[in-house]
């Protein structure tokens, strides 16, 4: 049952829409469990599908927690109202936990690790393959683990989620991501300022195939403008339309002028 639910959950976002969000996808994942409960009764099966296809949203890798727990509740013939309330209670935490752990920590950290590896000399395709293998090790592990604890614990699954301290792990991963961002910035700046440090990406800096150093005036301008923009983004913490409208042309003009002056 666990394997069938996990396989179907790879399509949990297939029918995503603004009204029911992952609801229909979740119902699809629960079909094996609902068939078992319906025991051949077509009307019961369709009623259960209607019940499980209503509005629901969670991080796709943690939707298995909900699917497993709901499959368990259906198998235990829990009252409809209990199933409905359980779905509502679970979707918020599964969304925010997954966002904090995966989208805001694990994904950017893995991407930055691959980018830094490539800039440091690892062949690009190997760096990309490494990213996919490392990233998906946690991805697939989470899907399998989530469905497992959901099926095992049913309505008590919330306690298990709290005991695994996922937010603290997300923070640690996020710190590694910040370190890797700095590492990538250092590798890129080092490569731009000292072309002999470019590694196997030598020649990409110039159309003639020769690595081109940044002249001092250009290097100074880029460092100043880049650092200023980085700090602005860091402090502000979000993108905005005025970045596009004002800063972008301004940046282009400043760097172009520095290029002309150099």
């Amino acid at each position: 049952m666990r394997a069938r639910i996990v396989l179907r959950l790879f399509l949990v976002q297939a029918l995503w829409n603004h009204r029911t969000m992952q609801g229909p996808g979740l119902a699809w994942a629960l079909v094996p469990a609902l068939r078992r409960r319906a025991d051949g009764n077509r009307e019961h099966l369709e009623a259960a599908l209607r019940r499980q296809s209503t509005h629901f949203n969670a991080h796709p890798y943690l939707a298995g927690v909900a699917a497993g727990a709901l499959a368990r509740l259906e198998a235990d013939e829990a009252p409809e109202e209990m199933v409905r309330r359980f779905r509502e209670i679970l979707r918020g935490p599964l969304g925010s936990l997954g966002d904090a752990l995966i989208w805001n920590a694990w994904l950017p950290t893995c991407l930055l690790g691959a980018a830094a590896a490539g800039m440091a000399g690892v062949p690009p395709l190997l760096a990309v393959l490494g990213f996919l293998l490392v990233y998906n090790a946690l991805h697939l592990g989470l899907r399998w683990w989530g469905a497992g604890i959901g099926l095992a614990l049913g309505a008590q699954v919330g306690e298990a989620l709290r005991s695994h301290a996922l937010p603290r792990r997300a923070e640690r991963v996020g710190r590694a991501g910040v370190l890797l961002l700095g590492l990538l910035a250092g590798l890129v700046l080092g490569g731009a300022l000292l072309p002999e440090a470019m590694g196997p990406l030598d020649g990409s800096a110039s159309r003639d195939g020769e690595a081109v150093p940044l002249p001092p005036a250009m290097a100074g301008t880029v460092l100043a403008v880049g650092a200023g923009l980085f700090v602005l983004g860091f402090v502000r913490g979000r993108g905005s339309w005025w970045w596009t409208a004002i800063l972008l042309p301004g940046t282009i003009a400043l760097v172009a002028l520095a290029g002309v002056a150099a």
């Binding site: 370190l179 403008v225 972008l248």
Partner: protein, 224 residues
């Protein structure tokens, strides 16, 4: 461009679109992956990788939280890599970054249309009666539509890249050094935004500084 390669790249874009939204989420649709693989198919994985890194840094903060409208950089990164190779050097990376950002916004808009299609399909299934067979058919339809959407976006982007490569190469106003500088400056703001979201406030700056120092040492050490 050889039609067979064009088809392979369009198929890669279709797969990237599927993986990003409808099926799997294995992150094969990230711009780092699609630009590098696209660049390898076109003959230069390194140039594709550079464009992919630039697009990733520019989109690190764009995460699919809830129903948020976000750009779609995965399929867009393939024409971006093609343009980068067509122009060459740092100028190519800047040109590719620009095209990639524009196409990713277009891609994000097409995702909204796709979600509306999903909504209509789900409403139709609900009206006719929720059953495993109707769900399966509905999923098949949306998967095909999403793959076609991504492939069309990529194919259109490749046509645009082919058209732009010649004029960009001939009339690029900046030298190689200035282009490198511009590429660095353009990704600095999104990199700052992304860094602000990673870890708790306390300790972020020291970690960033340590990473920066290590990166500079490593850059010198690789060839130094």
């Amino acid at each position: 461009m050889d039609p067979a390669i064009w088809l392979v790249l369009a198929a890669l874009g279709g797969w990237a679109a599927l993986d990003g939204t409808s099926a799997g989420q294995f992150m094969v649709g990230r711009p780092l992956v699609t630009a590098t693989v696209g660049g390898a198919i076109l003959g230069d994985a390194g140039a594709g990788f550079l464009v992919g890194v630039a697009l990733e840094v520019a989109h690190l903060g764009a995460v699919p939280i809830g129903g948020a409208r976000i750009p779609e950089p995965g399929p867009a990164a393939i024409p971006a890599a093609a343009l980068a190779l067509g122009v060459g050097g740092s100028a190519g990376v800047v040109a590719g970054l620009g095209l990639g950002v524009v196409l990713s916004v277009v891609g994000g808009g097409t995702i909204l249309l796709h979600r509306r299609l999903n909504g209509l399909l789900v409403s139709s299934i609900e009206r006719r009666g929720m059953s495993p067979e109707r769900l399966r058919r509905g999923i098949g339809i949306v998967l095909a539509a999403d793959a076609a959407r991504g492939a069309a976006l990529t194919a259109g982007g490749l046509l645009l890249a082919s058209a732009l490569a010649g004029p960009a190469r001939a009339f690029w106003p900046l030298g190689d050094a200035a282009s490198t500088g511009l590429a660095l400056a353009l990704v600095a703001y999104p990199a700052g935004v992304a860094a602000s979201g990673f870890a708790p406030r306390r300790g972020r700056l020291p970690l960033l500084s340590i990473g920066l120092a290590l990166g500079l040492l490593l850059a010198l050490g690789v060839r130094g």
